[in-house]
C-alpha cells in the first residue's frame, strides 16, 4: 500500500472520501471537494464525503471535468487511489452532457433531444420513453412532446443519462420587487456575501439552464433571504411552497420586512384562506391534500384528485420556490414535471432525502448550484458558534427507578426533580441573556415554570397569547421561557442565546438538532450560544442522550460533559466570591 504521508484525503473504493483536517486544515481543499462530493458527516477531525452520481453530475453541470476531479484527488490522496474509483468517476461524469434538451428551431413549443448517436439509438429503443418521443429527426436528434419535458428528464436520469436542459423558461407575469436598504424597523439590510454568491450562481451557466437548481445552506444561514434575492432579481410572479403554516408566515413577514412589496401582493394559500396573489405562499401539505384522502381511502393513489395542485396553473408564475426541498411530496414532484418551462429554485439544508428521491430533485428542480457548510459560516460569524454541554444530574430516587419498567424508568429519569436546582444554577450563569428551558413532559415543565417564575409555552397556548409571550421575551421582560415540544416546530419562536434541555423524546435525533437550531442565529454581541442537555446519571436517559448526541457530533458539533454535583459546588464557590 503506497502511502503519501501528510496528505489529507483518503479515497475509498465506494467513492467515499475522507478528509482528515489534522493533516491539512485547508478550506480550499474542502471547498473543492464539496463541488463534486456530498458532505455526509463531519465528526471530529474527519469529514466524510461521498461522490454520488448526482454529486459528480452537479460538478459536471458546473463545467468540471472528470480529469480535474481525479487530478485533485491524486494531488491530495494519502494512499493510491484504486483503479476502479478512477474508472467510475470517468464513467459517471462522462455521461453528463451527452444529451441536450433544446428548442427546435427556436420555437418554444417544439423541443428536441439531441446527443451522441449511439445513446440516441439506445434510448430510442427504450419502451419507457416511447410515449414521450414524436419523431426521429436525424441520427442524433429526436423531437419531443413538450408536455413531457420533465418526465423525459426524470426517466433519462433513471436510465443513467442526465440531460442538460437548455430549452429555456418563460418570463412569467411581471412583478416589481426591490430589496430594501433597511428593514421596516430601520435595521440596515443587504444580502450577505455568500447569499449574493448563491443568487449569482442560480443564474450562472445559461447553457445548462441557469435559472433552476438547488441552493444548500445550513439552518440559520438565511435561505429565505436567498429566495427573496432571486425573486427580486427575476421581478416576476412567484409561487413559494414551504413545509408548514408557521413557515408560510415567516416567509410573508420576511418578504414584507426586506422588500418593497406590500401585503396586498402576498397571498397565503392554506387551510385557513385560499388567496392567489402575485406572490403566493402555500404548504406542501396543502398541495398534497387530495379529495380522495379526505373522502375515501378506497381510491388508489394514482386516481387521487389533488385539487390544490391547480394553484400551479392559476397564474403565470415566473418562479417557483421549493423551500425545504428535501421534504417535497410526491404529488408536487409530479406537478413539477409539467412545469419545466418555469424557473425553479430549491432551498434546503441537506440534499439527502429520507425517501431517496434525490434524483427527482436533480432532474425536476435542477442540479445543486451552491453549497456552504455550516462550519464555514460559523467561522465567518454568519451563524452563532454553539457550546454544547451535557450535564449529568444524580438520580433522585434510585429505589423507585429500579422497580419500574423501562418506560417508567425513562420517565423518572427525564423528570428527575434534581434537575430543577441545576436549571436554576445554569440560568444564573447567563443572566441577561434570553434563555429557553425545553422539555417534553408538561408536569415537569409546569413545575419548572413555577420554580423559575417564567411563563410556560405549550401547544395549548392560544396564538395571540403566544405572540404576546414572544414579544415580551424579545424585549427581555421575560428573560426565560419554558417551552414544550412546540419549540421543535415553531419557526416564529424568538431567538435565544441559551437553551437548557431538561427532557427529550427518547433518542430523537431530529429533536435535538431542531432545538440547537434555535440558537444558530448570529448574536448581536457575537457571543457563543450555549446548549445544555440535562441527563440523569446512571439511567437509560444517558443512552438516549448519547444517541441524540451522536447525530449532532456527526454534524460537527462537540459536547463537553459535567457532573451536576461538581457544578453545584462550583456555583456555590462562585456565589461566595
Amino acid at each position: 500500500m503506497m502511502e503519501s504521508k501528510g496528505k489529507p484525503i483518503i479515497v475509498l473504493s465506494d467513492l467515499t472520501i475522507l478528509y482528515d483536517e489534522r493533516t491539512a486544515n485547508d478550506d480550499s481543499i474542502r471547498e473543492r471537494l464539496s463541488v463534486f462530493a456530498e458532505l455526509m458527516k463531519q465528526a471530529g477531525p474527519l469529514h466524510t464525503y461521498r461522490m454520488t452520481h448526482l454529486a459528480l453530475w452537479n460538478a459536471a453541470s458546473l463545467g468540471m471535468q472528470a480529469d480535474e476531479v481525479i487530478e485533485m484527488l491524486n494531488d491530495h490522496a494519502r494512499y493510491a487511489i484504486a483503479e476502479q474509483v478512477i474508472r467510475s468517476i470517468r464513467q459517471i461524469m462522462g455521461r453528463y452532457g451527452r444529451l441536450m434538451l433544446e428548442r427546435m428551431n427556436g420555437e418554444e413549443q417544439l423541443l428536441q433531444l439531441r446527443g451522441d448517436e449511439a445513446i440516441i439509438n439506445d434510448i430510442a429503443g427504450e419502451a419507457s420513453l416511447n410515449s414521450m418521443f414524436s419523431t426521429r429527426v436525424d441520427a442524433a436528434t429526436i423531437s419531443l412532446r413538450t408536455d413531457r419535458r420533465g418526465l423525459l428528464k426524470q426517466e433519462l436520469l433513471r436510465l443513467g443519462y442526465p440531460v442538460i436542459d437548455t430549452a429555456g423558461y418563460r418570463s412569467g407575469e411581471t412583478l416589481s420587487v426591490t430589496l430594501r436598504d433597511a428593514t421596516r424597523l430601520g435595521v440596515p439590510f443587504k444580502l450577505r456575501e455568500y447569499q449574493s454568491q448563491a443568487v449569482d450562481r442560480f443564474f450562472e451557466d445559461s447553457r445548462a439552464g441557469g435559472g433552476s437548481g438547488v441552493i444548500v445552506l445550513p439552518c440559520g444561514a438565511g435561505k429565505t433571504i436567498v429566495g427573496i434575492g432571486v425573486l427580486s432579481r427575476l421581478q416576476c410572479a412567484t409561487l413559494i411552497l414551504t413545509s408548514s403554516l408557521t413557515s408560510v408566515n415567516q416567509w410573508k413577514s420576511e418578504i414584507l420586512d426586506k422588500t418593497t412589496i406590500d401585503s396586498e401582493s402576498i397571498g397565503e394559500y392554506s387551510s385557513k384562506q385560499k388567496q392567489v396573489r402575485p406572490i403566493t405562499i402555500a404548504t406542501y401539505n396543502m398541495m398534497a391534500t387530495s379529495a380522495a384522502s379526505s373522502e375515501s381511502n378506497a381510491v388508489g393513489a394514482e386516481e387521487q384528485d389533488y385539487r390544490h395542485l391547480q394553484l400551479f396553473g392559476e397564474r403565470d408564475w415566473g418562479l417557483i420556490i421549493y423551500d425545504e426541498v428535501h421534504m417535497l411530496p410526491a404529488p408536487v414532484f409530479r406537478m413539477t414535471a409539467d412545469l419545466q418551462a418555469t424557473r425553479r429554485l430549491g432551498l434546503t439544508a441537506t440534499l439527502v432525502r429520507e425517501d431517496g428521491r434525490e434524483r427527482d430533485v436533480f432532474s425536476l428542480i435542477g442540479p445543486k448550484r451552491y453549497e456552504l457548510p455550516w462550519k464555514q459560516l460559523e467561522q465567518s460569524g454568519d451563524i452563532a458558534a454553539i457550546h454544547c454541554e451535557e450535564v449529568r444530574v444524580p438520580l433522585h430516587d434510585a429505589s423507585a427507578y429500579w422497580v419500574g419498567n423501562a418506560r417508567a424508568r425513562a420517565r423518572l429519569a427525564a423528570e428527575n426533580p434534581n434537575k430543577t436546582a441545576v436549571v436554576r444554577q445554569l440560568l444564573s450563569r447567563h443572566k441577561g441573556r434570553p434563555a429557553l428551558v425545553i422539555g417534553v413532559y408538561l408536569r415537569q415543565l409546569e413545575k419548572l415554570a413555577n420554580e423559575l417564575g417564567a411563563p410556560l409555552l405549550t401547544g395549548e397556548v392560544a396564538q395571540e397569547e403566544r405572540a404576546r409571550l414572544y414579544e415580551a421575551f424579545r424585549r427581555g421582560e421575560h428573560p426565560v421561557l419554558v417551552v414544550s415540544k412546540v419549540a421543535n416546530f415553531a419557526v416564529d419562536l424568538p431567538d435565544a442565546s441559551v437553551a437548557v434541555q431538561v427532557s427529550g423524546s427518547y433518542g430523537s435525533r431530529q429533536e435535538e438538532a431542531q432545538r440547537i437550531g434555535r440558537l444558530l442565529r448570529p448574536k448581536r454581541d457575537h457571543s457563543e450560544a450555549v446548549f445544555y442537555s440535562l441527563v440523569t446519571e446512571g439511567t437509560t436517559e444517558v443512552d438516549y442522550a448519547l444517541k441524540r448526541q451522536r447525530f449532532m457530533i456527526e454534524q460537527g458539533y462537540r459536547y463537553s460533559l459535567t457532573a451536576a454535583a461538581v457544578q453545584m459546588k462550583e456555583e456555590k464557590g462562585h456565589d461566595a466570591e
Binding site: 500500500m1 473504493s13 465528526a43 474527519l46 484504486a82 444517558v542 448519547l546 462537540r558
Partner: protein
C-alpha cells in the same frame, strides 16, 4: 519444507557446522545467508562450473519439489548438461554448504530437496536483470511444461471491483474472533459448524478456481476459508495441537504476540510468500510461475497479454481474492497485473508511522499501516463496520460491555485505545460514553465460590467472632454459611480444627474454579503431533502433496561420505587419461569412453583445432564400428551430437573437482 522447519530438525552440531561453513563467509551465518539473494549471487560466483550449472538447473526445472536421486541422475545428462561425476560433485558441494537437503522415506528411497523459501531466494538471486522479461520467459516455459494449454484461449474475466482487503487483515479479525469464541472442539475433535461458518464469513474469501485445486483435510466439514485460516495459523505456529489433551488446540501466546507485533506490511508479505509456498508449489512449473510473479516490481503495473495460461490466470485470481494484487483491464487491451502489497516488504522499507483515529461519535479509523496488534486491540473494543483502504470500526455500548464482561476495565480500555491512537486523548464525549457503558456491565455476576457451612447458627456466630477465623470469612450468607476464598481453604481448615470444629471431608457441591479455561491464551510450550516414527508433524488443514516432515532427515555427513567415496577417480585409470590431451588408438578411445560412461565423467576433445566438452550419454556399438552419443557443451550451448571415433583428434577424461 521451509528453512525454519528444517532448522528445528537439524542437530546442534549440524547447525553449528553450517553456520561456520567457509563458503558463506564470516559476516553472515548460513541460516541468514541462504535466504539472501545478494549473498547467494556472491556464492554463485565462487562455485565450480558444474555446481553452478546444477543449481541453475535445479531452480529452473526442479524448484522446491523433492526429487529422487535416481531420477535426478537419469535427467542430469540430457537436461542439466552434467555428467554423473559432475552431478555427484555438485551435489556434494550443495549438500555440504546447506543449499540442498535429503530425506529418506521409510522404505529407503531418498529424496533431495531445496527448502521452499530458499527456492524463492534463489529465484531472486538468479532473476534476469529485467524480472518482467524473465517472468515472460518463464511463463512461456511454464506453459510448455503444462503441455497443451487448451484453456488458454478462454477470454479472461477478472472481477475488477472485487474487494482488495489484504488477507492478513482479515485473518487478524478471524483470529481475534476465534480467540474470543475459544478453540473448543466437538467430541470428534472438530470445530463446530457455526464457528467455522462465522470465521469463514469474516474472511469473506471469494470462491476462485485456484482454491478448488487444493485439498482441505476437512473438506466436508469446513468451508474452505476456515480451513485456510486454520492452516495458516497452524503453519505460523499461532495455534498448536496437543496430542492426548482434552482440548486439542490452543493458542501459542508468544508466537501470537510476535506475529501481531510486527510491521503489518512485512506480515502481509510473509503471508504472500507462505501462501505461494504452501498452495502454489504443487509442481515445478507451477512453482516457476507463482514464484515468478513474486519477482515483478511493486511500483508499477505489468502488462499481461492474452492468452494467459489458465493456471497463471487462476493463481492471479487467487492473489486478487486475497487482496494482495489487482488485475485491471488495460485501456489499450490486455490486462495489467499489479501488486497491492510488496511481497518482499521489509521493516526498514516500511517503518510504522500510522495510528488509529478515534472520532467523538465512536467511529474508529484504522489505517493500513497500523500493527496487527493494534487491530487485535480494536477488535476487542469495537464492532467492525467495513474494510476498504482503511478499516472502520465503531465503539458501541455492546462492544464496550462485551469487553467489560471479559474483564477489561474502563480505565484499561481508554488507556489502550489512547495508546493505539498515538497517545492522542480520546474525545471527551466518547470517553464518557465508555465509562457509562462499562458501568452498566457487571452490575451482576455469576461466580463460583467456596462455602463454609456450619452446623448451627451458634457455631457460625462463634466462628465469626474468632479473631483468627473472622478475617478469612469473606461474606456471611444467612445464619450458617460463609463465603471463603479458595486459596484460604487450608488455613480455614486448620483454624476450624483448632477451634474444635474440624470440617467434614466432602466433595464440593460446586466445581472448583477451572484452572485452565479452554480457548484462552496459554504459555504452554507448543506441542506437536508425532508420527509413529517419532518425527514431529506440524498440523495441517490443507494437504501438502510434498510434505517431507514425515521422513527422516538425512545427516549431511553420512550422505557426504557416500558422495566422497564416489568422488575419487577409479584407481585403475592411467594418469595420462586425465592429464594432457593426447591422441589415442580407436580401441583406447572406446575404452576411455566406456570408463567415462561407467563413472560419469565428461571428456575434453580437440577437433578441427578447437576444444569442446562432450558429456557422453551412451556408446553405440555395431559390428564394424562404434559411435558415442552425447552432448557438446560450451558456455553458450548444449547440443546433442553423435561422434564417430575419427571425428576428434585428441582427448582426455575430466575429473570434476
Amino acid at each position: 519444507m521451509m528453512l525454519n522447519e528444517l532448522r528445528r530438525r537439524l542437530s546442534v552440531d549440524e547447525l553449528a557446522r553450517l553456520d561456520q561453513a567457509s563458503m558463506w563467509g564470516t559476516e553472515v551465518r548460513w541460516s541468514e545467508a541462504i535466504l539472501r539473494p545478494d549473498v547467494l549471487r556472491e556464492m554463485l560466483a565462487k562455485m565450480s562450473p558444474h555446481t553452478e550449472r546444477l543449481i541453475r538447473y535445479w531452480v529452473r526445472s526442479i524448484g522446491p519439489i523433492p526429487i529422487q536421486e535416481e531420477q535426478l541422475q537419469a535427467r542430469c545428462v540430457q537436461e542439466a548438461g552434467l555428467a554423473g561425476a559432475e552431478l555427484r560433485s555438485a551435489l556434494r558441494d550443495l549438500r555440504s554448504s546447506g543449499v540442498l537437503f535429503a530425506v529418506r522415506k521409510s522404505w529407503g528411497e531418498q529424496l533431495l530437496f531445496l527448502p521452499s523459501d530458499c527456492y524463492l531466494a534463489w529465484r531472486r538471486a538468479l532473476a534476469a536483470s529485467s524480472p518482467v522479461d524473465d517472468f515472460i520467459d518463464r511463463t512461456e516455459g511454464g506453459m510448455s511444461q503444462f503441455g497443451s494449454s487448451e484453456g488458454s484461449e478462454t477470454k479472461l474475466a477478472f472481477d475488477e471491483n472485487a474487494s482488495s482487503v489484504p488477507l492478513g487483515r482479515r485473518l487478524v479479525r478471524a483470529y481475534a474472533a476465534l480467540h474470543t469464541i475459544g478453540l473448543d472442539t466437538t467430541s470428534k475433535g472438530l470445530f463446530s459448524k457455526k464457528i467455522a461458518a462465522d470465521i469463514a464469513r469474516i474472511i469473506a474469501l471469494r470462491d476462485v478456481d485456484a482454491f478448488g485445486r487444493l485439498r482441505p483435510v476437512y473438506q466436508e466439514q469446513y468451508p474452505f476459508a476456515f480451513s485456510l485460516a486454520l492452516d495458516i495459523a497452524a503453519r505460523l505456529g499461532l495455534i498448536v495441537h496437543r496430542e492426548g489433551a482434552e482440548q486439542a488446540w490452543s493458542w501459542s501466546t508468544d508466537t501470537l504476540e510476535g506475529w501481531l507485533g510486527g510491521n503489518p506490511f512485512v506480515r502481509e508479505a510473509e503471508l504472500i510468500r507462505l501462501f505461494t509456498i504452501r498452495y502454489g508449489f504443487r509442481n515445478p512449473a507451477e512453482a516457476a510461475l507463482t514464484s515468478g510473479l513474486l519477482l515483478l516490481g511493486t511500483n508499477e503495473s505489468h502488462q499481461m497479454n492474452e492468452p494467459l495460461h489458465p493456471f497463471l490466470s487462476q493463481w492471479i485470481e487467487a492473489l486478487c481474492a486475497c487482496g494482495w494484487a489487482s488485475m485491471t483491464s488495460g485501456y489499450t487491451g490486455g490486462w495489467k497485473f499489479q501488486w497491492l502489497i510488496d511481497p518482499w516488504s521489509d521493516v526498514t522499507g516500511n517503518a510504522i508511522t500510522e495510528s488509529i483515529l478515534i472520532l467523538p461519535d465512536g467511529e474508529v479509523i484504522v489505517p493500513p499501516g497500523v500493527t496487527f496488534s493494534v487491530r487485535w486491540l480494536v477488535e476487542q473494543a469495537a464492532e467492525w463496520v467495513n474494510d476498504d483502504t482503511v478499516t472502520f470500526y465503531r465503539i458501541t455500548d455492546k462492544s464496550v460491555m462485551a469487553a467489560a464482561e471479559r474483564g477489561v476495565t474502563a480505565k484499561r480500555l481508554v488507556a489502550d485505545l489512547q495508546h493505539a491512537s498515538g497517545d492522542v486523548p480520546l474525545p471527551e464525549e466518547l470517553e464518557h460514553s465508555i465509562l457509562h457503558w462499562v458501568s452498566r456491565a457487571g452490575r451482576t455476576m455469576i461466580e463460583q465460590v467456596m462455602l463454609l457451612r456450619c452446623d448451627t447458627k451458634e457455631i457460625a456466630d462463634a466462628a465469626a467472632s474468632r479473631e483468627a477465623l473472622s478475617s478469612l470469612l469473606q461474606e456471611r450468607l444467612g445464619d450458617r454459611t460463609f463465603i471463603i476464598r479458595q486459596s484460604d481453604e487450608v488455613q480455614v481448615r486448620r483454624e476450624l480444627e483448632r477451634a474444635g470444629w474440624p470440617p467434614m471431608r466432602q466433595e464440593p457441591t460446586v466445581e472448583p474454579e477451572e484452572t485452565a479455561r479452554t480457548g484462552t491464551v496459554n504459555k504452554r510450550k507448543p506441542a506437536s503431533r508425532r508420527t509413529s516414527s517419532g518425527v514431529t508433524v506440524p498440523a495441517a488443514f490443507i494437504y501438502d502433496e510434498h510434505a517431507l516432515h514425515m521422513y527422516e532427515l538425512l545427516a549431511v555427513n553420512e550422505q557426504l561420505m557416500k558422495l566422497e567415496q564416489a568422488g575419487a577417480a577409479p584407481a585403475e585409470w592411467p594418469a595420462a587419461w586425465t592429464g594432457q590431451l593426447r591422441q589415442y588408438h580407436f580401441s583406447t578411445r572406446k575404452q576411455m569412453i566406456e570408463q567415462a560412461l561407467a563413472w560419469g565423467a565428461p571428456l575434453e576433445l580437440r577437433t578441427g583445432g578447437r576444444l569442446v566438452e562432450l558429456v557422453p550419454e551412451r556408446l553405440d556399438d555395431s559390428h564394424d564400428s562404434w559411435s558415442v552419443a552425447g552432448y557438446l557443451r560450451s558456455e553458450e550451448a548444449y547440443e546433442p551430437v553423435r561422434l564417430l571415433p575419427d571425428m576428434w583428434d585428441e582427448m582426455r577424461l575430466i575429473i570434476p573437482l
